[in-house]
Symmetry: none
Subunit: 191 residues, 4 copies
DNA sequence: GATGAATGAGCGTTCATTCAT
DNA sequence: CATGAATGAACGCTCATTCAT
């Protein structure tokens, strides 16, 4: 097993366990076991549990951004850009429920708050493209003239909620429904 | 101290500690201390910690329903009813951050999932009035013809997100902003 | 078992294990076992291992001072006072090897250094009576005019060494030998 | 790097870390790092940590003996020989605090006891010259007629104590004080 | 021979729960 | 009824030692 393999196995096991059972339900010993490594091995790759979790989040971001932004062009009309990005986001969540559940756990934990604060203030990471889109939308008067955080809430709130409902089995994956949901989000945001 | 007082103190202390420090930051011994009772006493009123937390949620629901539904009449137009309920809900969250933060913790934990499942299937609790409203809205063709869960997501998703942003200090309380936010939610839902 | 009994058992077990096997050889679980209590119980009485050890030292001091100073009078001649105190000290160490070995471990650890520093500077605790004696001795020109730390070294150095030799079985307890040893210490210190 | 160099680097690093941070503060991995070798390499030269430490002690002895005995002649008068050796010993400790601190750690640990036992019984190592001196002193009736261990205690007890006080910063290096201290030791031992 | 990644037993500590008082 | 001292399983983490490369 190559060096990278072990690290990846640890990250994968952590994602799985945290997504399924929460931070509580993912003790280091269990993560190690699921990763097929010794308990101490995790600490060769991650200073402590917090670092492992934060790093896991970072990798998730890195992995998901390209997928979500694939085929996106900032030159198209606002509406089209919005539908493109949000549909991709929702699809990603539905198709990667582990990623989504971890993300939720993370963002609803002390870890996550600092991240969200940074993102809003420093405008970096994934939000960049969304922020740009929303700022464009507002300045071109195609979106409501509301603070960015509110627009984010109007767009992402429903998406996250729907993704959660999928994972819980309340809805089945359905491309038409996804499209209609995102269009409804657009209705909430557009002027 | 009357029997009921002790129980109430325990529930109050649990709410406070869980809201502020999460489930981790609220050991039974600390809850007991904050409640001014012995550690063992909690177990006279609640079988175990899970039951305490679940019960706490139930009481929160009970306490908040009347507040949210105050002045609500099912005879008014759909739009008005929607704005009324959702505004009340958002206001309640903003004005009772402890309740909201506990709720978030709860719904984002294994505890919460079973509850949400029950609610959707059995149609009881707070959702009744919302469910009625949304079913009315759909059947009168004033709301989009989407599954109930999607409509819920379009309404509550942004509200929860905005409430969170308030608590994190990203937005200040502002009646006009609240009103505009809820109207935006309506735009997302209405036909 | 009364509340105090448990605490005492823990202290006793800690003393025994640390004296015999050093700080390393006295894990909390083993101390608990030897004390006949659960592992967690220790933490009801002592915040952590450091506190347990420091407290153990404090109790040792408290217990030994009266024994060592029994029959001591600051009104007698310097020489007699010196012989009295030092003989009592050496006897105490020989008769309480556990106490002595713990003391050695303690004073040769990070814990101990702070204590010794305090004692030298603040002049409190057992050293008070020794310090007084030595200061008297110097000012009355019956002891050599050397810094206090040096006089302490000349008196306690051999005593500790002899006590250690007893415990290691290099010498057998022998009142005459004890007396002659302490007199030799006096020869080193007296003018 | 020659084979011997590696070994020496390991021993040096171990001395440094143990002297400064105790046995606890000197994990094998850190010793390896400070020595500039791989962690496993240590085990090519020393069977395990205990052996490394014991060996380190042995080398320390070997290194210090010639320094302490430099200029020493068994033909000079007892008193002069005593002052010579003991002054050299104290100076060595003061000037080589790392060596002294390791020595203390060592002698106050399970490792040390066996060594001291061996020394007294087998009469080898550094003690030879001291033992010879003391046996001479006793037989020539210039020293008190006390068991060897007691005479050792009277001589080395204060020296070790004073060395410790230097390292802890309680006394500053001072040739006159050193001389007077050693003379006081002599007073304790001489007839 | 030299390495350093991997190991897992063992550490100090926490906390939900019990039960004698 | 109420208590809070007692428990011990489980946690996150360290480190002496091994062994494939």
């Amino acid at each position: 097993m190559a060096k990278t393999d072990k690290r990846d196995e640890i990250v994968r096991a952590a994602l799985e366990l945290i997504a399924e059972h929460g931070f509580h339900g993912a003790p280091m010993a269990l993560i190690a076991e699921h990763a097929g490594v010794g308990a101490g091995t995790i600490y060769r790759y991650f200073e402590n549990k917090d670092v492992l979790i934060t790093e896991l989040y970072r990798e998730l971001e890195e992995r998901s951004f390209p997928i979500i932004q694939k085929g996106y062009s900032p030159d198209k009309p606002i509406r089209e850009r919005f539908l493109h990005l949000c549909t991709a986001l929702l699809r990603y969540f539905i198709d990667n429920p582990l990623d989504f559940r971890f993300l939720e756990q993370f963002l609803n934990s002390p870890y996550g708050v600092a991240f969200r604060r940074d993102k809003l203030l420093e405008a970096r990471g994934e939000c960049d493209v969304f922020r740009e889109l929303f700022e464009d939308g507002v300045s071109r008067q195609e979106m409501k003239d509301l603070p960015l955080v509110i627009l984010f809430a109007l767009a992402f709130g429903p998406i996250l909620a729907v993704a959660r409902d999928h994972i819980l089995g309340f809805i089945m994956r359905d491309e038409v429904l996804i499209a209609r949901t995102i269009e409804a989000c657009w209705d909430g945001i557009r002027r």
